[in-house]
Structures are given as structure tokens and as C-alpha cells.
């Protein structure tokens, strides 16, 4: 007890909330993960406090242990975890991080949780009203059914579900992702908890929806006085709604302070590098110098004969067949998004961005350009050769002219092949030069050097590489096939922020060095602005807006473009 006092006293300058005792206090918590290969330290001496009505952001890159902190408080750790020191005290009572049973009443009722995957958080076979109602009943068995129902409707209304009475009987799949996450929040609120632990609550959502959900969280905190621990990797999220921030790295707390202080005066180098790595959106003021030049340079680029022209590409949803085919299971049904009359022009040697939210058809469009998917209508012209988009890429000869870099590097490399085997395949079959001889090995090695990868990695298998290294190998594979055009589909969104910047830089450099042309598909406006000279904005399978990059970000009057730009965290817009 005296120990604890001493600690509090020592940390006083850090946290300006000691006037009343903090709602939650984590004190020198250390955890390790015990596996067959021996114990690994996951958390080392993590200490922080959470006051009432406060949003504490816990930020860090993958492997920082930020989710483990949340799970320890919830008592959701796997049995392989072992607490080696420290305490978690909730409202003056010490919790045992390892046992759920002991503090069951507390956890769930007074501490609840929101997770990233809103689809997995809800029971698909139960109406959403019933799910909220059930939680209310479990947490307060004295409620009558009618009262529970009234409470559920009230909760759904509070989180912004329109017409909750009418939609009470609807099932999760009848809601959008943002609405589902709102329902999850309603369930988390059911027991009127003191703390909500939100683990990446908006990472699976589109930027515009993310903003709305964050605003809702902030509003709920202000209205009900609940405290939130917001675990995230996204500085943007932190900057928008948190009061204080805990920066974590490799299980240690690097820095903890008020959000404004962290953002304006980061003290630790790691925090500085995290902040510097966040891509920033520049919005040139209207009439700013240089802006007048941009459209004309864009025009000269289009006057010159473009390398690739896609005309009137349309793709419909895969129809649900009733014929013999569907009975026999012939024909693949992949969830496709419709494209309607989409056309783009790619000037040679440029990087063109395609921006859109999920479901806008941007990925499908990229796959059609590469010949991996077929459209129902349309034509693709590359350097004078015309390809029917409705014919399979292999048959029309389109396949192989365009290389792709995919979103998730962990599934983009054949796990059974070494890096050298993967790259040499690209040289032999993609570029069709040199067959397995010295020159292919040398070319692969030279490419590794160029992308800043050690040649010793060539002998490794993908699972022995980090995410950033794997994505570089994917870039190497695409470049070595020596295509004229590369389609990069969200190549950085599966990576940590600090790695993202490096990948973006490398992509931009190598593409211009080789004189290649690139289509850069992304949902992140700031990265697109940093990469691209022209931008197409997709919405619901159509091109909503397009133009030179500067024009789009400063002068476009298109309301949707403006909404997208407004959804960016203000902090990282300048």
C-alpha cells in the first residue's frame, strides 16, 4: 500500500488527475508469453492511469503490446500469458489479469469492450435488437423483458441507429459496416460501464464513416462520463478524439502525455518519428502560385499519346443464376462490385492515383486492367494494342502486360518458395530473359540492393521476413518482370506507418527510374497526393471526379471530393 502511494507521488507530474483517485490504475505491469521456445517479454513495466470521462489513446505499431494491455484489463489473455509483476487496480480494487471468473461481475458490466471486426462481434443469426436486449438482461437480471426492450431501443437510438423500433428485428448483414460498429458500441454501453476498451474500433471502416464513429464515441463520453481506452495504430484517430496518449513500443511505454502536448512537442524520438511518418495532406490555397502551372502540365501530359486508355469499362454484379449452372455449381461466384462506364487515361511515365472507399470498385478496376478479372464491356488500349475487357486476360493477351503489387504482402508471396525462387521466376517467365543462369541471379541480387534488402534474404522463405521486407520483395517481383505498367493496390495499408513512408518513397523512385507507368490505388488521400500527378476518384463504381492532383485537392468543387478531404484528421492536413 505504501509502495503504491510512493509510486503515485513519483508520477504526479506526468498525470494531472490525482485530485480524485483514478478510475483505473495500471502499475508496473509486466507480462510474458510462455511458449515451447521459452518466455518472451510482451509488456515491461507498463504504468498508466485513467480518469473518469477521459479518452486515453494507446498507440503503437504492430507488436507494441498495445492490444495486450487492453486484454489484460479485460481478463481476456490466453493462458500462455504470465504476469510477472505489477497490478491493475479498478476503482481501488486490484484485478487479477489472468482470471476472468474472479472479477466476472466487474468485467463486462463495469468494463466493456469494442473490437475491430464488427462483423465477427455480432451474431449473424440473431436480430440486432435481440442482441442488445440479451446483453441488457444478462447484465441486469432484474429487468423485465419490456424494460430490457425499451432500454435496447434507447441504446440503439443513442448510438445513432435511425428508427430503432422499426429496425429492431433486422439482422446484422442488413446494416452497413459503420452501423454495425454503432450496434457493437450500443452493446458495450448496455451495462452503463465505467470503462470501454476499444481495440482499433474504426480501423475496418472507411475514412468518412470512421470520422462519424469517432464523433459518436466522443459524444457518448461527454454525455455519459464513461472512460475509453482507445487502442489504435492511427495517429489520425488519436489526434481527433483522445485526451491523453500513451505511446508504446515493444512492450514499453515510450511516452505519455496530453494529446496536444504529444502532437505539438513530442519528447521522445520514437514519437517524433511516428508523427513524421504520418502522411500529410497539403491543401494549396486557391490562387496559390504554382497551382496555375499544374493543370497545364496535366494537359500536356494528356495531349501526348497516353500509354494506356481504358474505355467504358462496365462490370455488373455476378447475377444469381437459376439455371442448370447454379444447380450443378458451375461458375465461380466471387463478390464483385459493379463498375459502370469507367474510363481512364494514363500518360507514359506518370503515376496516376485511384481513390475511393471500400465498394467503390477501385480494386476490381485495377484487376481488370491487369487482365486478372474480366469486365462485361469495355476496351483497354495499351501502346496501340487493343484488348477487349470482356475476354479473359489469358486469351486476349492482356495478362502479363501489367504487373500488380498487392495489399497484403503476407499472402502475396508463395510461402513454399524462397525469395530467390520467386524473383527468378519473375525474370524467367515475366520478363522472359535469361533462364536460371547467372544473369537472372545477378538481376535479382541487383534489385535487392536497389530496394535496400540484404542479398542474404534471397535464401529465406517469406515467413522469415518482416512485412515491410515482404512488400519490397513484391515490388522487386513486379519490377523484375519488366512491365510497362504496374498497378499497386493499396500497397501500404497493411504496413506500419514508419514502414509505409519508406515503401512509398521506394515505389516512387524506382518507377520513375525505370520510366514505368503506375496506377496507385488507395483510400488514403495524403499518400495519393504524395505519389500521383493525376487522380481519379471512384464512387459506387463510377468515376466521380478526376483531374491533376493539385486541382483535385485544391479547386475541385465536387461535393464528394470535398467530403473525402474533410474526413481527413484536421491535425494532419495543412
Amino acid at each position: 500500500m505504501t509502495m503504491e502511494r510512493a509510486n503515485t507521488a513519483k508520477r504526479l507530474p506526468f498525470f494531472p488527475y490525482p485530485a480524485q483517485s483514478p478510475l483505473l490504475r495500471v502499475d508496473k505491469l509486466s507480462l510474458r508469453y510462455v511458449s515451447r521456445t521459452g518466455p518472451t517479454a510482451i509488456l515491461s513495466d507498463v504504468s498508466f492511469e485513467l480518469g473518469r470521462g477521459e479518452i486515453l489513446g494507446v498507440i503503437g505499431e504492430s507488436g507494441a503490446g498495445k492490444s495486450t494491455v487492453g486484454n489484460a484489463i479485460l481478463g481476456l489473455l490466453a493462458p500462455e500469458f504470465e504476469q510477472t509483476s505489477g497490478t491493475i487496480a479498478f476503482d481501488g480494487k486490484v484485478l487479477d489479469s489472468m482470471s476472468v471468473g474472479e472479477c466476472e461481475a466487474l468485467r463486462g458490466k463495469r468494463i466493456s469492450a469494442i473490437f475491430q471486426d464488427h462483423t465477427a462481434s455480432l451474431d449473424p443469426l440473431m436480430s440486432i435488437g435481440a442482441q442488445v436486449e440479451e446483453t441488457c438482461l444478462v447484465l441486469d437480471p432484474s429487468l423485465s423483458r419490456g424494460a430490457a426492450r425499451a432500454r435496447a431501443i434507447d441504446l440503439l437510438a443513442r448510438v445513432g441507429i435511425p428508427e430503432p423500433e422499426r429496425r429492431y428485428r433486422s439482422y446484422p448483414h442488413q446494416f452497413s459496416g459503420g452501423q454495425r460498429q454503432r450496434i457493437v458500441i450500443a452493446i458495450a454501453l448496455a451495462g452503463s460501464p465505467d470503462i470501454i476498451i476499444a481495440d482499433e474500433p474504426t480501423s475496418a471502416l472507411d475514412a468518412t464513416v470512421q470520422k462519424q464513429v469517432l464523433e459518436l464515441l466522443r459524444k457518448l463520453v461527454d454525455e455519459t462520463g464513461v472512460s475509453v481506452i482507445l487502442v489504435t495504430h492511427d495517429m489520425g484517430v488519436v489526434s481527433e478524439i483522445t485526451d491523453r496518449v500513451l505511446v508504446m513500443r515493444k512492450g514499453h511505454v515510450v511516452e505519455a502525455d496530453d494529446t496536444a502536448a504529444i502532437l505539438d512537442h513530442p519528447r521522445h524520438d520514437y514519437t517524433k518519428s511516428l508523427l513524421a511518418a504520418v502522411p500529410r495532406l497539403r491543401i494549396p490555397a486557391k490562387g496559390e502560385s504554382g497551382e496555375g502551372v499544374a493543370p497545364s502540365s496535366g494537359e500536356t501530359a494528356t495531349v501526348e499519346r497516353p500509354l494506356l486508355v481504358a474505355e467504358a469499362i462496365s462490370k455488373e454484379f455476378m447475377p444469381q443464376g437459376f439455371g442448370l449452372g447454379s444447380v450443378l455449381g458451375i461458375g465461380q461466384k466471387r463478390p464483385g462490385f459493379g463498375l459502370r462506364d469507367v474510363g481512364i487515361r494514363l500518360p507514359r511515365g506518370t503515376i496516376t492515383g485511384i481513390v475511393g472507399e471500400s465498394g467503390s470498385g477501385k480494386t476490381t478496376f485495377g484487376r481488370i486492367l491487369a487482365g486478372l478479372d474480366t469486365a462485361h464491356e469495355g476496351r483497354i488500349v495499351i501502346g496501340g494494342h487493343s484488348f477487349e475487357a470482356a475476354t479473359s486476360g489469358r486469351r486476349s493477351g492482356l495478362l502479363g502486360r501489367v504487373q500488380m503489387i498487392f495489399q497484403d504482402p503476407s499472402v502475396s508471396l508463395n510461402p513454399r518458395l524462397t525469395i530467390a525462387e520467386t524473383l527468378e521466376e519473375s525474370i524467367r517467365f515475366g520478363a522472359r530473359v535469361g533462364s536460371g543462369d547467372r544473369s537472372a541471379t545477378e538481376a535479382a541480387g541487383a534489385m535487392m540492393d536497389r530496394l535496400g534488402l540484404a542479398r542474404s534474404l534471397l535464401a529465406r522463405h517469406p515467413h522469415q521476413l518482416s512485412g515491410g521486407q515482404k512488400q519490397r520483395v513484391c515490388i522487386a517481383r513486379a519490377l523484375l518482370a519488366n512491365p510497362e505498367i504496374i498497378v499497386a493496390d493499396e500497397p501500404t495499408s497493411a504496413l506500419d506507418v514508419s514502414v509505409q513512408a519508406e515503401i512509398v518513397r521506394l515505389l516512387k523512385e524506382t518507377i520513375s527510374e525505370k520510366g514505368m507507368t503506375m496506377v496507385f490505388i488507395s483510400h488514403d488521400l495524403a499518400i495519393v497526393q504524395a505519389m500521383c500527378s493525376a487522380v481519379y476518384i471512384f464512387k459506387n463504381g463510377r468515376v466521380e471526379d478526376f483531374g491533376p492532383s493539385d486541382f483535385i485537392f485544391s479547386r475541385s468543387d465536387n461535393p464528394y471530393t470535398r467530403t473525402l478531404i474533410a474526413a481527413r484528421p484536421e491535425r494532419f492536413t495543412c
Binding site: G329, I330, Q332, Q403, M404, S412, N414, L417
Partner: protein, 274 residues
Amino acid sequence: MTASKVLLASYILVAIAAPLIAPQNPYDPLQIFGWEASSPPGTMGSGGYLYLLGTDGLGRDIVSTILYGLRISLVVAIVSSAIAALIGLTAGVSAAYFGKWVDATIMRLVDLQLSLPTILIALIAIVTLGPGIDRIILALVIVQWATYARIARGVALSEVKKPYMDAARLMRLPTSRVIFRHLLPNSIAPAITLIPIEVGHAVALEATLSFLGLGVPIDKPSLGSAVANGFQYLMTGQYWISLFPGLALFGLIACINLVGEDVRRNLDPRSQTR
């Protein structure tokens, strides 16, 4: 666990060494003394060796019959499982890769296969093909390939959608290379774990067929037909002709299944940390 491994190892060892350690070659009529048929265990034979487990109705030494029968049972089971796995995995993976009518055709064949009792299919196959060790192997392959195909297809369907497969297609690799170098190696892990269990099934099924008299030729008994040979003598108290080959068969299947289960658990990708 280890006991079953030791037992299986010794089964395989004696099967290989059978011609060296068996007192008699039961396939050679010159070494068989017909007048010593159905001798009880422990009888001294005219060949100068003890009939440790007695002789069968034709005068063959039961110990030797078991040792030689073991060879046949094991070879039939292992060879048929290997061929079935090869065919089944390739068919399943191809179905997933090509989709459309190729998939439909292969998978409807699989359904047909799995909708009928295995013993019935094996019977039909043997009746149509005629007896013989190669025919038995063929029948067992026909019975077994479908299981592999179905499992491999399921895994391959999710693998086909992964970006590394798209990347392989973008390289304009020959189709055979895409299937055998990229898709197959990543799709077979769960199906491979089936092989040890399926070998156990194959031993049992071969024994069943042989017991029914539809299996291996009468002059080259497997364990199953060795059991069947003694069937008619059970009523007259000459239990040893059926009992001892039966026990040997029981031990074999039991330890293959135990070891197979162990191997499956160790190979299961979910139990491994990647």
C-alpha cells in the same frame, strides 16, 4: 504412443524380412505337406521345424502365412494409398484451379464415389476387374481418391484467391507450373495428414475383400484371406487357423491408426507455429 510406433516398426521389419525368418514359404507347394493340414499349435512338422501356431487347412504353417500375408497387406495398402493420394490431390487442386465444368465434373464424380458405401464400390470394381493384387490396388484407389480430392479442393479454393496466385498468373507461367509449383504445395498439407489413417483403412478394406474371397489369389493369402481360410474350421474347434492371422491383423490396423493419428496431429498446420 511409443509402444504403437515400436509395434508398427517391428511389423514393417518382419514383413520385409519375411523370406529370411519364415520357417516355410507358403507359396511354394513343394514346402507344404498336405497330410499335416490343420495341425494344432506346437506340432512338430516333417520339415524339421515346429508349427508354432499350427497349420491351416492346406497344411501351410500359420506363422509363415502371417509373415507373407503381412507383406501383401502392407504393400497393397501403402501403394494404393499413395496412388490414391496422388490422383486425388491433383484432381482436387485442378478442380479448384480450373473451376467451371472441370470442377463440376470432378466433384460430381467425387460425390458419386462418396455417396456409395466403400465396400460396395470395391466389390463392384473387383467383380468387374477380376481378382489379382494389381486389381485390388486399383479397386482401393477408386475407393480412396475421392476423400483426398474433396479435402484438397477445399483448401485450394481458398489458396486460389490469394494474391500470390494472381502474381503467378501475371507472370504468364505455364498452367502446369502454376498448379504444381504454386497451388499444389500450398493446398495439400491437410490432405497429406490423411494418408496414415487411410493406409489403416486400406489394410482393413483389403482384408475385408480378401475375407469375402474377392481379394488376392487363394494361393497367395494376405492377412484377410488367411482369416477367411480358417473360417470353416472354427466350428470344429480348430480356432488357430483364423485366430492368429486375425490377431496379427488387429494389431496392425490398431498401431497404424494410433501412429497415423499421432502423425496427423504433428502435421496439422494449426498445431504448428508458422
